[in-house]
């Protein structure tokens, strides 16, 4: 039934009214397949023989397993009181165990994205948009335009994989095809990670503990190594150093932004990253972009920061709800970008001096290097050349 659906038809709801338990057809099939693959169909007996199973019992505050090799044997060994009063019955327990074990497999299957297309829609007056957009892994594209111009709407269209059913009428294609309609209706099916100025860490955990938790949820082969990589990248980006034992909630604005960026680059499975204004955060922005490019992410950056805007392979000028212009940096802009980058490093140096209790009492020319050849005084590392920041 779901196969016959036209994914571009907004009037078609997702397949929901399936069986009596109301599992969406595809989701149900997936769950069943997962349970089968794990050998864990709830109706039959379930093996209870590894540390993941022990973890399940522990998390649910259930008695530990002794010599039992199956869930049924474990259940039968419990006292009558426990079996009647614990709030569990065997079926529910088997289902819970299957859910717990399959959570890992569900996150493991993250699809690779080779291209993202946004087919033109219409502006706020209903006039057709001028451009179709095409993004590939490693692209950094900036969105510019005043507040209310429609930047958020474009990001939202990508986020919800619009199929001509949003106010803009845009259509999003993944690898040239309309996305599986089902994937629009699950959080895991979404392809987009978001970083905005409003986001905070709210968990009461140390940095390392939290990263371990995130790595664990990704079922990575080497969670410790992944964790280490995020931590190192975040510290390199942040102005001030912090350690693995620092509580998340004590990170400064710049530090937590740096950690969010490093985490989105290295630990998040999402192939597309939407970033809303990271300029004020005290983060090495050029380096942040490099991390995303190196990881093959598609980055959409809503920004008015000149350095970031010139760092992108393109910038989309948004006006009246539509993309009005696509600008590629000119050779002059490219040259100016290098000057801006040098200026940015100078400013970072001044910030560092202030932080250490220093004074800025030199003559203006020596202080900022304005008028002297800033670029030659501070040679560019090869990593900051635009070639690494993706091109058409």
């Amino acid at each position: 039934m779901s196969d016959a659906r036209n994914p571009c038809d907004p009037s078609v709801g997702p397949p929901l009214a399936g069986g009596p338990q109301l599992i969406g057809e595809t989701a149900g099939r997936q769950a069943a397949a997962l349970q089968e693959s794990a050998g864990l169909r709830p109706s039959n007996d379930s093996p209870l023989n590894d540390s993941r199973c022990d973890e399940f019992l522990l998390l649910n505050r259930l008695p530990a397993r002794a010599a039992h090799r199956t869930l049924r044997a474990w259940w039968d060994a419990q006292t009558w009181d426990f079996r009647t009063e614990s709030g569990w019955d065997y079926e529910r327990l088997a289902e819970g165990l299957a859910a717990f074990l399959s959570a890992n497999e569900a996150v493991a299957g993250v699809p690779l994205l080779r291209s993202l297309e946004v087919r033109r829609g219409r502006d706020k007056d209903g006039q057709p948009e001028k451009f179709d957009l095409f993004f590939k892994p490693g692209d950094v594209v900036c969105l510019v335009g005043p507040t209310g111009a429609g930047k958020s709407r474009l990001l939202a269209d990508i986020e919800c994989l619009a199929q001509g059913d949003t106010p803009t009428g845009r259509t999003v294609l993944l690898d040239g095809c309309a996305p599986d309609p089902d994937s629009r209706f699950t959080g895991e099916g979404k392809i987009v990670a978001q970083i905005t100025q409003n986001m905070n860490f709210v968990m009461d955990l140390a940095v390392a503990e939290f990263l371990r938790m995130h790595a664990e949820s990704r079922a990575l082969a080497a969670p410790e190594a992944a964790m280490q990589r995020v931590l190192e990248a975040a510290i390199r980006m942040a102005g001030e150093p912090f350690g693995p034992e620092t509580p998340l909630t004590q990170l400064s604005g710049g530090q937590s932004r740096a950690l969010m960026i490093a985490d989105a680059a290295f630990l998040s499975p999402k192939p597309v990253v939407l970033i809303d204004e990271i300029e004020n955060a005290g983060v090495d922005r050029t380096r942040a972009l490099e991390f995303f490019v190196d990881q093959g992410k598609i980055v959409l950056l809503s920004t008015h920061d000149p350095l970031l805007a010139l760092s992108g392979a393109r910038r989309l000028v948004i006006r009246n709800g539509a993309v009005q212009m696509v600008i590629e940096p000119s050779p002059q802009e490219e040259a100016n970008r290098l000057h801006l980058a040098a200026l940015d490093r100078r400013l970072a140096g001044l910030r560092e001096r202030i932080r250490l209790g220093g004074r800025l009492d030199e003559p203006w020319e020596t202080l900022l290097g304005v008028g002297t050849n800033a670029i030659e005084q501070q040679p560019l590392s090869p990593g900051t050349s635009r070639a690494n920041l993706g091109s058409q």
Partner: protein, 233 residues
């Protein structure tokens, strides 16, 4: 008429999310209504009325909220049918996490919010475990990483539900939710149907209004905590 049960901890954003999703359906000409089950007081009826949504408020007062829900839901559904509604949403706050208002054959939605912390999915009982759709709200103010961990933790207790991130303020995700509401089963039987999870077995003197403390006042089904004595050295 479709009947959808929406449950979630207090202040998780149930009302805001329902309002946003129903607005999409109203624009498409669907007739929608809401029953709000609460314990002591509720002012949400005004919000629904402002949005032109007919609403009933049911306050359970002295009664167990879930018993109150299940003994009244049929009458509420009959009211909805008299109004010729296409969709009736039953909204109730899960208070002790022991029960769930979800009914077999009817779309069941659980609302959680990110600020409650990553351990929440493991503390919420059948309200989450038996749901078809899990909505997670307030994602705009927590990090992407926390959202992903939260989703994973939800998956660990409910492998088959659809998991959606919804924002009750901006409406992000509410369009997707309105599609799920619209795809809910139509005219599923209520009378003779079953709850997905039983309500508590206990009926004790305190259920019936007793307030005095002490063994002499404990009648009915009573369960005692088991305390292991610390061994003295």
């Amino acid at each position: 008429m479709k009947l959808v049960t929406v449950a979630g901890p207090p202040s998780s954003g149930k009302t805001a999310v329902i309002l946003k999703a129903l607005a999409h359906l109203q624009r498409e000409g669907r007739r929608v209504g809401v029953v709000k089950f609460d314990c002591l007081s509720s002012h949400d009826a005004d919000l629904f009325r402002t949005a032109d949504i007919p609403v009933i408020t049911g306050l359970s007062g002295n009664f167990c909220p879930d018993h109150y829900f299940i003994t009244n839901i049929e009458d509420c559904a009959a009211w909805g049918r008299r109004l010729d509604l296409d969709l009736l949403v039953s909204e109730s706050a899960g208070l002790c996490n022991r029960c769930a208002p979800h009914i077999r054959g009817h779309l069941a939605v659980c609302v959680l919010d990110h600020l409650a912390g990553v351990h929440t999915p493991r503390k919420i009982g059948p309200m989450l475990k038996t749901a078809d759709v899990v909505l997670v709200t307030k994602g705009d103010i927590v990090s992407q990483a926390e959202r992903e961990v939260f989703a994973f933790r939800v998956r660990q207790v409910n492998a088959r539900a659809r998991l959606l991130f919804v924002n009750g303020i901006t409406g992000q995700g509410s369009w997707e939710l309105s599609r799920l509401f619209d795809g809910a089963p139509d005219d599923a039987p209520l009378t003779g149907g079953r709850l997905r999870f039983s309500v508590p077995a206990a009926v004790c003197s305190y259920c019936l209004g007793e307030t005095e403390i002490g063994e002499d006042h404990q009648h009915g089904t009573v369960r005692k905590i088991q305390i292991e004595e610390a061994s003295r050295v």
